[in-house]
Symmetry: C2
Subunit: 230 residues, 2 copies
């Protein structure tokens, strides 16, 4: 998927030119690396970063531990590679689901994709949402970059919807940014809830959030505000 | 505020009976401990757990470093004491602001109290929301307890509002729990945004979230659902 070749060029860890010439090279490098990352995401997501061992990850991936180090360098770099891959997969899933159209349709499609992805990959979501923040600063920064990208995407979506609704006075940029933060925070929180509760489907989680948010956002787009009690 | 006496009974760190008899005892123990915690919250909130030094905290509190260790035992216990104190202060602020009344009024009062408190105590909020999760597991668990308490409070509020609206079919418990998770996640996310943006007032943050959420929740309470596009 990320098109890395057998020669190791552009690999996640810089393993050095000649070190790549390992003996049993039946499988392309990209494929082997994918297996290691799959095993790592599963192990980190289920056990947590600190408790997860490189032995366990290597065994689950069906490779030797030295080979994991050869490809990914260290536990830290392996974890970083997991975060980056899973963050990219999540944003790709959400962006890919949203086509031009009415704002509520876009939001609904985006939310369903978000909850489908987080529900189908609970270990990846645990790595991104819980593990990466709990472990420490450099990893938290990686996840904040993902969060900033999702917020920017939602901000652009809401700003376009507000412009489309041609309100005057229009929804100020600052409020749109605030609304995007609220929506992303709500979605993150609900994803954790949906994965912890038995039998909450992606559709149900997305519908809960649409019911929570859309009528509110929808009113706002049309210029109808909630007003504080006197 | 927490009524600990000079004798150290019930103190945060178990410092042992005789160790408490320090020389310069002009100030009651509770007062001195409060000063240490104030200094610790400020330092942890601004520098992060790892970068913060006990020297710095002692200096800011105007006491010797041994005295900080005597009272709070270790950096870990000091940090835990900060989390517990600030979590209790935040839930107290929110609960104290909500009086019986219509659901939107309760929500508005609770949200204003939440954003006023997090805005007035940005270091405390950084400790609770960012630092505690970033540092590691035992601290993250402390913060999850706070989160669970806020979610339970909001769940009870929404469930009462839904019952009051006498809808049939009523809002299922599970959906109410989902909505509460969405609201708490949105509020957490907005508090970070409001503290990072210049000049976002507590009232503005609370109004943004009410506009985002209430018309949506309000419609739901009355049995009007958002429906997916066909």
């Amino acid at each position: 998927m990320d098109g890395r070749g057998e020669d190791g060029a552009g690999g996640v860890g810089d393993v050095g030119g000649e070190a790549v010439k390992v003996r049993r090279k039946r499988m392309p490098r990209a494929e082997r690396e994918r297996q290691m990352l799959d095993a790592a995401v599963r192990t980190f997501g289920q056990r947590g970063y600190r408790a997860a061992s490189m032995d366990e990850i290597a065994e689950l991936a069906g490779v030797s531990k030295p080979l994991v180090y050869l490809y990914l360098n260290s536990k830290e770099e392996l974890f970083t590679a997991c975060i980056r891959r899973e963050a990219a997969a999540l944003t790709r899933a959400v962006r890919g689901a949203v086509a031009p159209g009415p704002a509520d349709r876009q939001l609904w499609d985006g939310l369903r994709a978000f909850f489908e992805h987080t529900g189908r990959h609970p270990d990846a979501w645990a790595v991104l949402h819980s593990q990466a923040r709990t472990v420490g600063e450099p990893f938290a920064a990686e996840v904040n970059a993902l969060r900033a990208e999702l917020v920017a995407f939602v901000t652009a979506l809401l700003a376009a919807a507000a412009r489309e609704a041609h309100q005057d006075p229009s929804l100020p940029d600052r409020e749109v940014a605030g609304l995007a933060h609220a929506l992303v925070g709500a979605a993150e929180s609900l994803a954790g809830w949906a994965n912890a509760e038995p039998d909450v489907s992606a559709r149900e989680a997305a519908a809960t959030l649409m019911n929570f948010a859309w009528a509110g956002l929808g009113d706002l787009m049309e210029g109808r505000r909630w007003s504080p009690p006197s």
